[in-house]
Symmetry: C2
Subunit: 348 residues, 2 copies
């Protein structure tokens, strides 16, 4: 009966309280908001529901507003921590929370993303935190296709927990798995995290095709999957090449591709991709999406920049990433809409 | 200005007449039906439209009913042949048509599939025909995600022509590519054909999740992508393992995955998968789908059988294919509906 602290009351962190509560170990579960989550915590206390996800949260959860004292008390109480901050809270977590974590605390992050080191290398968050904290905290992370609202609806979801210590991974899995939340384990943190972070960048590319088809044939038109599938295939190709670049095993591709699939249909990136595909310039599209967290934009730019840097050093071929390069240029406003069909064709 | 003969007036063969006519070389195009295509040819002559695809065919095409004499005359006229028979017409093509092909005739097949040799090995159609015909005919084939009706609608589609001779592949590409039909080339026939044939088997698996969710939450329910994405990721994993088994390059995975994507949404296999997912037994589902060609069922069984045979010889691990094995058992009626979630979980 482990005590599970979820830090961050965003949609994904909060959704993790559902399998955490349903797990047969009868865990005790607390959700503590970040300093930005005040309204969510207040709403959850009052209604038992999540403000933005608009779904009930499990009975018996304690909701806490953030303070350093409360954090210290909860960390003292907890057997494991689920870190539910968004990728924009990664530095805050590193600076404010990580130094307070008890030695050895199993810590599982829902955050997907990569940090740009500025030299063509990218760092997954668990490694970034491990390097910053300087003590032994087994930072782990979740990869694989899983949207928060479907997890809260208890739909079948298959994810992977990755981290350096299989014993810690098993402990986390044992506390969080349910008959609908299916957990694989991997010690290849770099490979898993890169694969699942990339999906954000590439989901933008695939959803461009949705918008382009709507532009041609009217919104809501049915049965236009050839263009999407063409871009999906190209994304798989370029994702595989990024994994090669960072020296990660190609077996991680399946996590990234599954995640790509769910992001195209179930994620927020779809809205931006469709707007861009309809020919709306990036700046105007961003205005229409006011308030939406656009990790996809951040990650597309970071990965494209890393590849350019590697290419400048002769360590990567820019021509091997025509779609990613194009998406990056589109986001920066450097080019108008267009798919590099010709550049995507290959010959032996 | 090559003369292009399309043999087989099914949807995909007929749809190929659209890029063939739009290609800037001003090709002359003929469609000859197989002995089973009489009604389609008659309808096309009378209305200019395709009977089952329900779309106009390009102006200026000659439609011919099948006879051996007419075939010989058309083969004499043609500079290249597009073979549009379904996978169920592969033997007919081998026995009746292939022996009449002029030496060296570039021949491009739209048919996806694999023949089961009964010993755990599978043969792609181009190799089967090449072995049967005994003369030099450069048999090539099309892979990649492309549904017939979207091609007929001139939507962007990215495919790959595969075959042994790059010169022949370039000739075919030059005659058939357009500004919406994007053609890559590959000499890895085995890899491409296996990857794209597999998509049929695995598309069944992913669409099971659609039916299962409908069963739980009602038909047409929105936003249920976690279960589909979980199975999609597992399909990518198992497709990659099949490619390993046959010694094919993993780079072909992108074709199979793109094709999987379009088959889930744009293809006929979806209907069967959804029915099975709703819990309809296979026999009853087949009754409801009367008249639908189920290459997916054939290929799922063939690949599963091949893997079982290889496993019996110690050359494959059956546990590495839990989803394919389950789909095969479901199709044979050996088990009821169920996803092998536990077996799909992995550990380092």
């Amino acid at each position: 009966m482990p005590n599970i602290l979820i830090l961050g009351a965003g949609m994904m962190g909060s959704a993790m309280s559902v399998p955490a509560s349903d797990n047969p170990s009868h865990n005790a579960v607390r959700i503590m908001g970040t300093p930005l989550d005040g309204a969510i915590i207040e709403h959850a206390r009052r209604t038992g529901r999540h403000l933005t996800m608009d779904r009930p949260l499990p009975d018996g959860i304690q909701f806490d507003t953030f303070s350093l004292d409360a954090l210290d008390r909860s960390l003292d109480w907890a057997d494991m921590l689920v870190c539910g901050v968004s990728s924009f809270g990664v530095d805050w977590f590193a600076g404010t929370v990580a130094p307070r974590l008890p030695q050895g605390m199993p810590t599982l992050s829902v955050t997907k993303g990569l940090l740009d080191n500025g030299d063509g290398t990218l760092t997954p968050f668990p490694r970034f935190w491990a390097e910053r904290v300087g003590r032994h905290i087994p930072f782990c992370a979740i990869g694989g296709p899983c949207t928060s609202y479907e997890l809260a609806d208890r739909r079948h979801s298959a994810v992977v927990f990755c981290g350096g210590d299989v014993g810690v991974l098993r402990k986390l899995k044992s506390a969080l798995e349910t008959d609908y939340y299916h957990v694989s384990l991997s010690t290849d943190v770099e490979g898993v995290e890169c694969a699942v972070a990339l999906k954000n960048a590439f989901a933008l590319a695939v959803t461009l095709a949705v918008g382009m088809t709507e532009l041609a044939d009217g919104e809501g038109c049915a049965q236009a999957y050839n263009p999407q599938a063409a871009l999906f295939g190209q994304c798989v190709r370029e994702m595989g090449r990024v994994l090669d670049l960072i020296g990660a095993d190609q077996s991680n591709l399946a996590y990234g591709v599954g995640d790509l699939y769910v992001t195209i249909y179930g994620g927020r990136t779809r809205r931006l991709g469709i707007l861009l595909g309809r020919g709306v310039p990036f700046d105007q599209a961003m205005e229409q999406l006011d308030g939406v967290t656009l990790e996809s934009v951040v990650i597309a730019r970071r990965v494209a920049r890393a590849i350019r840097l590697l290419a400048a050093k002769g360590k990567a071929r820019l021509e091997a990433f025509p779609l990613l390069t194009r998406v990056d240029a589109l986001l920066s406003g450097a080019v108008g809409l267009g798919i590099p069909w010709r550049e995507m064709e290959t010959e032996p």
